[in-house]
Amino acid sequence: MDDLVRRSVVTDETLTELISLLSHDLRGPLSSLVLHTGLLEGVDLSGDEKEDLAHVVAAGRELRDMLAMVADLGQFLSDRASLDAIPCDVASLVRESIASLPDGSPARVRLSESGVARVACDRSRVSRAVRELLTSALRFTPEDLPVDVRIEISPAAARVGVLDNGIRVPSSMHEMMFDLVGALEIRRSHREFSRGLGPVYAALTARAHGGSAGILQRGADERGNVLWIELPTF
């Protein structure tokens, strides 16, 4: 039994180290790509070339975000994450997440807020967590429909909920969606409900801040899921 436990611990540590090393090894070539692409921004280019370059720049930024998320996941899962918590206004943080979405996407998001809530949070990580929920909702919502984001404030917490237009996720999968093993299982066997690793990241981030994450259904239709994170206020 001890051997089994030790092997399991070693496997987790090895996995975490593997994530760290892969993250490091990917950052090198991506740095080179981003910086060399930056050199082209000062060059006289045609309209099409400028558009092509903008796509390369956007792809580089997207890869950078994904890399940061994977590295963070490794840290959260190994309990090695250290939070850089500062006082944040929740609404401004959510607006920052919306603004960081790729071109065209921010206009599809409708934010409704009620009052002011302040939380102590690692701004870049919580902003990324909200962005992950938004990205997922945008994928599961037709382009002609908006994605609604609601900030709800209770005496002790602020909840950021993001409504998508996907098929309702069965209640048996609600907890699985926010757990790494569960999310991978949904991806394997119920792909139509899979939101990838974004909700897992959001949940780990919220829990690291003393908060929580979940999913609920809104309205009477067969479609529509609200994925939310909740953070303690002060």
Partner: protein
Amino acid sequence: MPRTIVIDDDPGIRRAVAAHLRGAGHVVELAASGREALDLLKAAPADLVITDINMPDMDGIEVIMALRDQSPDVPIIAISGGGLFPPDLLLANAELLGVVESLVKPFEASELLGAVSRALGVAR
């Protein structure tokens, strides 16, 4: 024109960082290791050093400590993509040793030039 030494074991990053700095009016010298950089500094003083942290032979933390002995007034910018530890942790250690700016890889040209400008401002 500020003389800047860029230390990184990745030739692509060295080349790209140098191009942006030359575009901003720097005289740039490149070093693939900490030892090369220390030799360059012995030959002539620098106004700024930009060093990677995770490098073979002599890592960036050792480079910073040696620089602090050899050229205590030269501002240093540390850059890192991490390694076995996350980059922010490695950079926090570098900051404890007096690094004036730090950048997590990958960073964009605007972030690099902003850090350079602030670092040179600190030196003045």
